[in-house]
Every structure is written in C-alpha cells, then in structure tokens.
C-alpha cells in the first residue's frame, strides 16, 4: 500500500523499485496490449506511457457484493497486474486488501480524495441499497449511498466492477428487498465504465484499468457503457461449440450421448446466444477453460436481469407476470385454443342470429338459378 506522502512515481519507476526487471516490465506491457485487443505496434506506446505517467490513485469501494470481482482480478494472468497495479502502487483504499483498517483506512481514503481531487479512479464493487434510507449496507458509519456519492464527487472515472455495480445482480432479484441499485442510476454526471459479469474476467478488468491509466481516457464503450473490446461479441459468436449449433446438433440432456460428444448446449439452457462477454476467447483461470468448455451452459451472468430471466437449464421464454412454470408457448397455445373455440361459437351464433337474412338470400339465389335462360 502506497502512502500518499511519497512523491508520485511513474508506473515504471514503481515497478522497477519493487524488484521487477525491465524484461518483466516489457512482458507486462505486451500482456496488457493483448488483453486490450491492441496490435503489436501498440506495445511500445503502452510501455512509454507507463514510463512517463505518474501513478493514478485508485479508490476501490465494496458495497453489496461477494468480493468475487476482487478475487477474479487478483488471479488475472500476469502477477504484475495484481501485485503492482493494484496492491503496491495504485490502490489507496480497498477494505479487502489494504493493511490498514478502521479509522486509519478511512483516513487514507479521505486524504486521497482531498489530495487527488478530480484525478483518482473510483472502482465500485457491489450494488447500492436505497431501501430503508440505505441502512442495509453501512461502512464507517455512512450508508453505501453517502459513501459512494462522496467518493464519486472527485473521481475522474468510475468503473463499475461486476454485475452488482453494473446491473444490480442477485440481490436486485425480485422482489429486491433492499432496493439494490446499480451505480449508473445514482450518479449521472461522471463517466462510468460498466464491466458486468459475475465476476468479470480478471484479464478484462486488468485490460480496462490499464487502458485508463496508460492512455488517460476511457476505452471505446458501447451503448450500454461496456468496453467494446470485451463486450462486443456474444459468447455464442466465439464459442468453440458453435459448429454444432449451426449443424443443428444439440445435447438434449446433460447425460446423453450428444452431451458426451460435446454438442451445443443450446437446448439445455445455454444463454451464450444472448450474452455479451469474452469467455469464449479470453476464458477463465489463466485461459484454462470456461463454463461451456466444462460442459455447462452459459447462465448469462454479464447480462441485465440474468437472475430473473427464467430457468438456467431450459430454453423457455418466460412470461412476465405469469407463474414460473408457464412459458410464452404454453400460454400461446392455450390462448389460441380459447380463441378458436370462441370463433366456432361466434360462427354458430352468427348463423342463428342472421338466419332470416341468410335464408332470404339463399332463396333469391335459388329462384335466380331457375330463371337462367339456357
């Protein structure tokens, strides 16, 4: 943990000071370029930027969350990511990882906010409860909302880590007793990068934070505020089982021969076709695997409302406002049946009610038939 009294070193100086070699530093820059999806020629720019940019202080807030985002981050591919960027150099405040605690920790945060007003990066892990005056989550005597607004005021950029801060996640599931709220609904006047996922991929988190510190500006974001480099494609679009999908070869259950053959998990509820994330390319645990590769469908953890969007193991379209068991097709079939019955009743009733008119016309037609000149 850096102290705020030391002169602001550049990233390179700090990295060398902590015993890494120049070679390690260059490897790190190359890793980061690859995470960010940049081409080879950009490695030099990253290295140069890290050599010349003074460190950006980072305040990492924890609200309603499970710390899986932090866990994911510190396990990202290269040790320098967690070690240098997070732990040793930049992190001025994080409840989970900092050595200080209690009043000391809060004092460090206050000092950073004052000293680097308008410069620090605010990372938020967890949603913010608004119910019951925010009493469901309090830190150092302040509610999460108060604490967040205080920290957001002087932040240069806010990064919403994970589905909690981006979308609300499971604690926002109906009926959302604590009124868990994603941060972009609370602060509107600051640039917010949303990094959904439960958790987001560690390399993605590193890539985003490095982009901000190395280039001093936001990565390219899509309409939902997610970095395009990592959330531009569906899991489905980069899935190695995609050829089975296009062929129409699906696992029907998790224990059938098709599942053993590695067929597409679409019919056992894989949400890959609706989920934007990099799981298919960057993968997890240092690129070892990802859910679909391990034989389990994607649950869509980086999508809004994934927790309320129907069963994980079925391909049903759940109807809002109906019981869990009913999906759009069952309701549709019943409604179509009722409608067809109604039409049949109407047809019979029409013939009875309008019988006089009909008989008149039929008789006229019969008369005309007799009077045809042949």
């Amino acid at each position: 943990m850096s102290t705020n009294n030391e002169k602001r070193k550049t990233y390179y100086e700090s990295i060398i000071k902590h015993g890494y070699s120049r070679r390690d530093f260059m490897k790190f820059s190359t890793y980061m370029a690859a995470f960010m999806g940049l081409e080879n020629s950009m490695v030099g720019q990253i290295a140069q930027s890290l050599e010349n940019t003074p460190r950006l202080p980072v305040i990492w807030e924890h609200y309603q969350e499970c710390t899986c985002c932090s866990e994911s981050f510190i396990r990202s591919n290269h040790p320098i990511v967690a070690d240098i960027i997070l732990d040793r150099i930049s992190l001025d405040y994080t409840l989970t990882l900092m050595a200080a605690s209690g009043h000391q920790a809060e004092a460090a945060k206050q000092e950073t906010m004052k000293k680097y007003h308008g410069e620090y990066i605010l990372c938020v892990e967890g949603s913010i409860p608004l119910g019951d005056d925010g009493n469901y989550c309090c830190i150092a005597g302040k509610s999460a909302k108060e604490s967040f607004l205080e920290a957001a005021e002087g932040a240069k950029v806010i990064i919403a880590w994970g589905s909690c801060a981006s979308n609300g996640c499971v604690q926002a599931a109906k009926p959302n007793p604590t009124e868990a709220t994603p941060i972009h609904k609370i602060v509107k006047n600051k640039p917010i990068i949303r990094v959904p996922g439960c958790p987001p991929i560690g390399e993605v988190m590193a890539g985003i934070i490095m982009h901000v510190v190395a280039f001093g500006r936001l990565p390219k974001l899509d309409r939902l505020g997610r970095p395009k480099a990592f959330y531009g494609k569906r899991v489905h679009d980069s899935c190695y089982r995609r050829p089975y999908y296009d062929a129409g070869l699906f696992a029907e259950t998790f224990d059938d021969q098709n599942a053993k053959n590695g067929y597409c998990l679409y019919k056992v509820g894989c949400k890959g076709p609706m989920t934007y994330n990099s799981c298919g390319t960057i993968k997890w645990n240092n690129g070892v695997s990802y859910p679909i590769q391990s034989g389990h469908g994607c649950i869509g953890c980086s999508e809004e409302n994934f927790w309320d969007n129907g069963p994980f193991y079925e391909r049903t379209t759940r109807m809002p406002g109906f019981a869990v068991e009913s999906n759009a097709d069952t309701i549709g079939k019943v409604a179509a049946g009722v409608l067809a019955g109604g039409i049949a009743v109407h047809a019979v009733a029409a013939n009875i009610s309008k019988r006089k008119e009909l008989m008149d016309r039929i008789n006229r037609g019969k008369d005309n038939e007799k009077n045809i000149e042949s």
């Binding site: 129409g248 067809a340 005309n368």
Partner: protein, 240 residues
C-alpha cells in the same frame, strides 16, 4: 324483397394483393422457422458437424424472409400514398366521427350479432371496415416491433447498416434476453390475428355475399348499384 343489383368494383389493386400474399408467406415462414429456432427438434443424424448445416439453413431462411417482410412493408406504406382510396392511409385514419360511427356499427352487427330492422347500405364498408383498419394499425405497429427487435438481435452478426439501424433497441430494453422474449411473444399476436382475420373473411363472404374471399385474389368486390354514381353509364359490368 326487391332484387338487388351489384356492380363489380376494383377494391384491392395489384400491389395491395401482392403485398397481402407476400406478407402471408412471410408470416408463415417466419413463424415456422422462428419456432424451430426457439426450440430446435432433435436431429437423428450421425453426420459430423462439418457435413451438416441444418440449423444454419433454418436461421438463414428466417433472416432472408425477415428482409422480404421489411421491404414488403415498405412497399405497402409507399402504396398508401399513391394507391386508390381503399389502399390510402386516409382509409386507416381512425380519428373521424364517420369512422367511429362505423366502428360501433361493426361491433354491434358483426361482433355482437344484432340485427337491424332497416339496414342502411352506407353502413356496409366497401374496403376495410373501421374495426379492421384499427386491427391493421395495431398489426403494422406489431410488425414494426418484430422488425425492430428482430433486426436488433441480428445486428451484431451483420456488417450492413440496415440491421444496425435497430441496434438501439437492445440498450433500450437492457439486453438480448428481454428483446428475445418480446420478439417471441409478439409472434403469437400474429397467430391470434391470423385466426380472427381468416374467420372474419369467411364470415363476411358468407353473410354479405360480396366476394370477400376472392377480392384478395382478383381485386374485385361487388357493391350495391345504388351506391355507385352514374351507374346507368356502365351497364355492361352490372349483374343481377
């Protein structure tokens, strides 16, 4: 009862009929392929994925038909500015007293099945009646919902600007999940509409005897002679 003379009137011009039947084809193909995409059947095949593309073909048909559906809609909207009085957008305009009088008349006579002692010939619509136009306005809106949600889901797999015009729909609703659900539920409204629409066409053909069913094939409906101005000048087309 006095004999009634009917005159043949061109109600549905050729572009309207072409629109109608292409639309029928599109809705059938899109619904069937849509059901297949939502819940694909189990394939009994030993072939390797390399040698099969069956689901890809179903999806291709769905997307290709979606384009046809869209361009066909654009054709119909264009024709509502240049077509005859029955095809015109004015025929669909719901905010007039005449329209609402007709609306309640249709509800009373055709839906609630009451009888009139002295039917007024002017109450019988030559083109669409007011209940029908309202249902078509709703269906045009739902067609737009299908186009917008469908192309929004499709946009990311396309590099063309046209599907990308609808990519704002996903952020509007928050994600693909909900957009897909809307797309699926709205498809059912097309099925419900088709059931009622086909029934009512047969109903009018049977009870009015003015060629309701065949009018969408040949374009002609039979209209009572007393509704046509100067009818004596075109005797060759009149029928007994």
């Amino acid at each position: 009862m006095e004999a009634k003379k009917f005159i043949r009137v061109m109600v549905w011009e050729l572009p309207v009929r072409i629109f109608h039947w292409i639309n029928v084809l599109c809705i059938i193909v899109l619904s069937i392929t849509g059901f297949l995409i939502a819940n694909p059947p189990a394939l009994l095949s030993n072939a390797e994925a390399t040698n099969l593309h069956s689901f890809g073909i179903v999806r291709f048909i769905h997307f290709a038909t979606a384009y046809l559906f869209l361009f066909n809609m654009i054709l119909r909207i264009y024709w509502s500015f240049v077509g005859n009085q029955f095809a015109s957008w004015r025929a669909f305009w719901p905010f007039s007293k005449k329209n609402w009088n007709n609306f309640w008349h249709v509800v009373k006579i055709d839906l609630m099945l009451f009888n009139e002692d002295h039917p007024n010939v002017k109450d019988i619509s030559i083109g669409h009646n007011s209940v029908a136009t309202l249902s078509y306005i709703i269906m045009f809106f739902l067609a737009f919902v299908q186009i917008a949600t469908g192309f929004a889901l499709y946009a990311d797999t396309s590099s063309w600007w046209l599907p990308k015009l609808f990519s704002w729909v996903i952020p509007l609703f928050g994600g693909d999940f909900i957009v897909r659900t809307i797309h699926h539920i709205t498809m059912w409204t097309f099925i419900f509409f088709s059931l009622v629409h086909i029934y009512l066409v047969f109903y009018h053909d049977w009870l009015d005897g003015r060629g309701e069913v065949s009018s969408m094939i040949g374009g002609f409906k039979f209209v009572r002679e007393d509704r046509i101005k100067h009818h004596e000048e075109i005797p060759s087309e009149s029928k007994k």
